[in-house]
């Protein structure tokens, strides 16, 4: 069974996402800050990372995703980026014109995400 790590500082959203994913029998672990998230990433070896773009006043999600792509261990780890800031980054959804150097993630999901869309994207990413 696939293991999914959620790094997001919004506990309520994480809990709801967890319930939705667990209903499809995924194993879900979560962290509400980047430090803890990176530790879990090392120790738990998840199959998919769901990452919030903005945490702790900063675009922490962008920084983490760039770090992971440089690390051989996590280069292939699929990343689903949750974002509520489409306007500020100028990305086009769903990801057609995304810039892999600037933001090296596999998929975007705009908040608030509908459960079926979330599940579909997670499934797609895990199948690859």
């Amino acid at each position: 069974m696939a293991k999914i790590l959620i790094i997001d500082d919004d506990n309520d959203l994480t809990e709801a996402t967890k319930v939705i994913l667990e209903s499809r029998n995924y194993e879900v672990i979560s962290a509400d800050n980047t430090k803890e998230g990176l530790l879990l990433l090392e120790s738990e070896n998840p199959d998919l990372l769901i990452l919030d773009i903005m945490m702790e006043n900063k675009a922490a999600g962008i920084i983490i995703s760039r770090q992971l792509r440089k690390n051989p261990k996590f280069q292939k780890l699929p990343i689903l980026m949750l974002t509520g800031m489409r306007e500020q980054t100028g990305f086009f959804f769903p990801g057609e014109t995304k810039n892999d150097t600037y933001l090296p993630v596999n998929e975007f999901l705009e908040k608030p995400a509908l459960p079926e869309v979330l599940l579909e994207k997670v499934e797609n990413l895990l199948r690859k």
Binding site: D10, D12, L13, E15, A16, T17, V19, I20, E22, S23, M54, E56, N57, G84, M85, E87, Q88, K111, P112, A113, L114, P115
Partner: protein
């Protein structure tokens, strides 16, 4: 330069231009008139003296007199015609310019139209020489002195005209000089007005740029607000979707609904703070303000906050160095500001800490310091603490749910009364907010 100054300069310039124009016109008209009158009188006096010589047939004397007169600077030419128009005597050298000769064939050749003029004497004529120099000519007939002929039988020689032509050089030069002055003034005015226009346009540009910037800031703020609202709404929606679409076990659904409810409640303070922030600007202009006794107000607030501080084992200490003068402000606003700052200080000061409020003043301003022994503000955050929605990282750990608007509102309120607020801080040592308010 103000708009008023520009208008003054414009009006004064126009007045000076009008006056200058009037002076030049006056000079041109009356200056010539004066020269004309003087010439007429002069010619009359010459005629009187020449008349006698002519009557006596002393042609040589007449010639000498005429030549002497002709030598004068202003006289262009002086001549005597007989009744057939033949020149009897003439000052040959012209000092001023060439008199444009007319082939006068007797008086009638020129004066046919109005015989009256022959008797009254023709008004002065104005000529121009080839050099564009103006000349004024006055003719006086010897003819009209009928009483002379009653005794002295008229002879052909004396029946003639004295014609004196005078230069208008001096008066023309004065007019020319004044015109030059007027042109110079016009040029200066034109330059000044262009400068004013340039200044105004650049002022308008500046104002325009400021407006554009303000508009951009507002848009940026709206984006931030949207983002702030989007986070709780997204969480609420996801929690409720779990329930309505039946994800997970039923046992977890009540927890999801409670989470959604909690988040809804936390949106309310955010919305209230947003309203406060928006109204601080608008109300500032027509706010109800009164003279506030800060001594009383501070004591009341300390009493109010003491319980909360004691609950956290934090000491609250007020020192008023000298009786503070009154300040003109809305009482609720000052309450809001101080409660917000004290509330923050209590919140971020660990148990056993101390909060000091110190008030002092000089004649112009009142200074209030709120000093705590709290967690402090990290160096990288301190420049942003008054920004909307900004929260320092260590503050998030202590209180997760802040709107990040409290200090932004505080700063706006204080600035709306012409005051200022600054902050100094060291991590784990403490924070000091300093409020400066003008004395009413």
């Amino acid at each position: 330069m103000t708009k008023k100054t520009a208008v003054y300069i414009g009006v004064i310039s126009v007045i000076i231009l009008i006056i200058g124009y009037a002076i030049i016109n006056f000079e041109a008209k009356y200056g010539v008139r004066i020269v004309e009158n003087n010439t007429v009188q002069y010619v009359e006096s010459i005629r009187r003296s020449l008349r006698y010589q002519l009557l006596q047939n002393r042609e040589e004397d007449v010639k000498q007199i005429v030549e002497a007169i002709g030598l004068q600077d202003q006289i262009a030419e002086i001549r005597i015609f007989d009744k057939t128009g033949k020149i009897i005597v003439s000052s040959n050298g012209s000092n001023v310019g060439t008199y444009v000769e007319r082939n006068a064939e007797g008086c009638n050749s020129c004066h046919l139209e109005n015989q009256e003029l022959l008797i009254q004497g023709e008004p002065a004529r104005i000529y121009k020489t080839e050099n564009n120099e103006r000349l004024i000519g006055v003719m006086q007939p010897f003819y009209n002195e009928k009483q002379c002929f009653e005794c002295h039988p008229p002879s052909e020689k004396i029946l003639g005209v004295l014609d004196v032509v005078v230069s208008l050089k001096e008066i023309d030069y004065a007019i020319y000089r004044n015109k030059q002055l007027l042109y110079l003034f016009l040029l200066i005015t034109a330059i000044l007005i262009s400068l004013i226009i340039v200044k105004f346009t650049s002022d308008l540009h500046k104002i325009n740029r400021k407006l554009i910037q303000a508009n951009e800031e507002k848009s940026e703020f709206i984006r931030k607000v949207a983002h702030q609202l989007r986070a709780p709404i997204s969480a609420i929606q996801s929690c409720l979707k779990v329930v309505t679409e039946g994800y997970g076990p039923k046992s977890i659904h009540m927890d999801m609904i409670k989470r959604a409810e909690n988040r809804t409640e936390k949106i309310i303070p955010l919305v209230n703070d947003l309203l406060d922030l928006a109204t601080t600007d608008e109300i500032a202009k027509n706010k109800r303000s009164e003279n506030i006794d800060l001594n009383k107000l501070l004591n009341r607030l300390i009493d109010l906050m003491n319980e909360k501080a004691a609950g956290k084992n934090v000491k609250l200490n007020l020192t008023i160095k000298e009786i503070l003068p009154h300040v003109n402000a809305g009482p609720e606003d000052i309450d809001d500001v101080l409660i917000n700052l004290l509330d923050n200080a209590i919140k971020y000061t660990p148990s056993g800490g101390k909060i000091e409020i110190i008030g002092f003043s000089d004649h112009k301003k009142i200074v209030l310091e709120i000093k705590d022994t709290g967690i402090g503000i990290p160096q990288e955050d301190i420049n942003h603490v008054f920004d909307e929605f900004y929260r320092a990282e260590n503050a998030r750990i202590i209180e997760k749910e802040g709107t990040g608007l409290g200090l932004a509102i505080t700063k706006k309120i204080i600035e709306s009364y012409g005051g200022d607020i600054t902050v100094e801080s060291q991590v784990n040592i403490g924070t000091k907010f300093t409020i400066i308010l003008p004395v009413s």
